[in-house]
């Protein structure tokens, strides 16, 4: 019997298993265990959460492989890790470690000002951020098996995640009413591969799983993104920069499952302690915005 590993169906399939779930940023094995105990479907192993990357400044790179390995050993759920945009050697290192998913992420300082990684040759699947449909389909064209909104990481302000989700999902709704003869010019306008534009029109959704990320901090934020139509959520700084991470993490997991049940959302939102303080995105100078990274 022949086994085929690293196929696109297998890469995309893991993201399908994460649907309806919460992926949490963690910086220690202890955090990872708290996240797993709270019901996270996966963790993102990092040296610093995005809020601390902002505060720290300087160049943000792939995390120490030793830390990533410690986190992989501490939980049974999938472990993701980030590499810089275009830094295919960081991606090779993460593949050698055997992480379950690689996030080619704008939260780290980009290594290439014009190109993303060619993700097809890797056996490990990639997730990439996007702000609109064109960017999402360019990343899928390069081999991304999962898409997330960029939002504005490390702010605790959900406005950019909403903007990006509305852009992607709204453009798909319009695409469904676009006649076939206009698809080529539309593909040219949004800078996306024609075949993927056509496939997206036929499916009425992105051809891969689409999560929300960037600035989610409360159970209501997670449910908002789910009601807008994403498949699941990433929560970065919002959990471990809050007053009671274990409780907030569990509440966000429950809010993601019961996203359309306001009685349950009210119940799980009670008494969670201090949320992360956050930064309003409108107060953020253009040079400090992470979402503009990516081409």
């Amino acid at each position: 019997m022949e086994k085929e590993r690293g196929t696109f169906a297998v890469k995309k399939g893991l993201a399908q298993m994460l649907k309806g779930g919460v992926i949490m940023d963690v910086v220690t094995p202890e955090h990872a265990r708290i996240a797993e105990e709270a019901g996270a479907v996966a963790v993102m192993a990092l040296e610093r959460v995005p809020a601390d990357i902002r505060a720290h400044g300087g160049v943000a790179r792939m995390s120490d492989p030793a830390l990533i390995e410690q986190i992989m050993e501490s939980v049974t759920i999938p472990v993701m890790a980030k590499c810089r945009i275009g830094h295919f050697v960081e991606a090779q290192i993460l593949e050698a470690l055997g992480v379950d998913y690689i996030d080619e992420s704008e939260v780290l300082t980009p290594a290439d000002e014009a190109h993303h990684i060619d993700k097809h040759p890797f056996r490990i699947p990639f997730v990439c951020g996007c702000r609109d449909l064109g960017e999402a389909l360019r990343r899928i064209g390069e081999g991304a098996a999962m898409i997330r909104t960029k939002g504005e990481a490390g702010t605790g302000d959900v406005i950019e995640a909403v903007r990006h989700a509305r852009a992607v999902l709204g453009e798909i709704r319009k695409l469904q009413n676009t006649p076939d003869e206009e698809l080529m010019t539309y593909s040219k306008q949004i800078g996306a591969p024609f075949e993927l534009v056509r496939e997206t029109k036929e499916l009425g959704r992105l051809p891969v799983v689409n999560f929300a990320a960037g600035g989610l901090a409360t159970p209501a934020d997670a449910a908002l993104m789910m009601q807008l139509g994403v498949d699941g959520v990433f929560v970065g700084s919002g959990i471990f920069k809050s007053g009671d991470p274990a409780r907030r993490a569990k509440a966000i997991v429950e809010a993601t499952t019961h996203f359309d049940n306001p009685e349950i959302l009210a119940e799980v939102s009670k008494g969670l302690g201090e949320p992360m303080i956050g930064i309003g995105v409108s107060d953020l100078p253009q040079a400090e915005r992470l979402a503009v990274r990516g081409w």
């Binding site: 019997m1 893991l14 298993m17």
Partner: protein, 196 residues
């Protein structure tokens, strides 16, 4: 016939899509009251720890056990783990099938794979069933009332056949994902179980 799909987390929409193509009425189940009036239930792929914790918090464990005492339940991957009586670690399980499972039995995502299986009991059983295994579990031990329906064997060096599909009465467990490959034979097999 009305089939429920446990929708706490995972690829429940993919199962619903197959049920839709078969013309079967489907309902998403997140709370115990939503089990009423169903002829069968599918527990989808996902993270078994997440599904187990949410089922515990929302009071679904006992209602699911009662449902399974009279109606058909099919677990795929995480769902198969949840149906088992032993997953070799502490996590909420329904214990409806007399099977022991090993989670992530093949390793991490890099070891996830596609392969053709031969499955006993489904229609046209000689036609291979293309299966996708994602961080998949294996069924290590089966009790006396459990029938093995498919095993992995052959080129990958294992000495004994490794069980990836099994049935016990009206319970069905598969460690792969028929909802991802567009072959509806196992869904139809389960419809017949739920109807019986």
């Amino acid at each position: 016939m009305k089939i429920g799909v446990l929708a706490l987390q995972g690829d429940f929409a993919e199962h619903r899509a197959v049920l839709d193509t078969l013309g079967v009425e489907a309902r998403e189940v997140r709370l115990p009251s939503q089990l009423e009036g169903l002829d069968g239930l599918i527990i989808p792929g996902g993270e078994s720890t997440t599904i187990g914790k949410l089922a515990t918090t929302y009071g679904l464990i006992e209602p699911l056990r009662r449902f399974g005492a009279s109606q058909a339940i099919w677990g795929t991957c995480a769902g198969a783990i949840f149906l088992s009586c032993d997953a070799q670690r502490r996590q909420p399980l329904l214990g409806l099938m007399d099977i022991t499972v090993e989670r992530n039995a093949f390793g991490r995502q890099v070891e996830s794979f596609e392969a053709d299986l031969s499955i006993a009991g489904i229609e046209d059983p000689r036609r291979p069933f293309h299966a996708i295994f994602i961080r998949a579990p294996l069924i290590l031990h089966t009790g006396p009332d459990v029938t093995v329906m498919a095993s992995l064997s052959g080129s990958d060096g294992a000495s004994e056949p490794r069980v990836v599909a099994a049935r016990q009465g009206r319970m069905l467990a598969t460690s792969f994902h028929p909802e991802l490959t567009g072959d509806p034979r196992l869904h139809r097999y389960f419809m017949a179980m739920a109807d019986g």
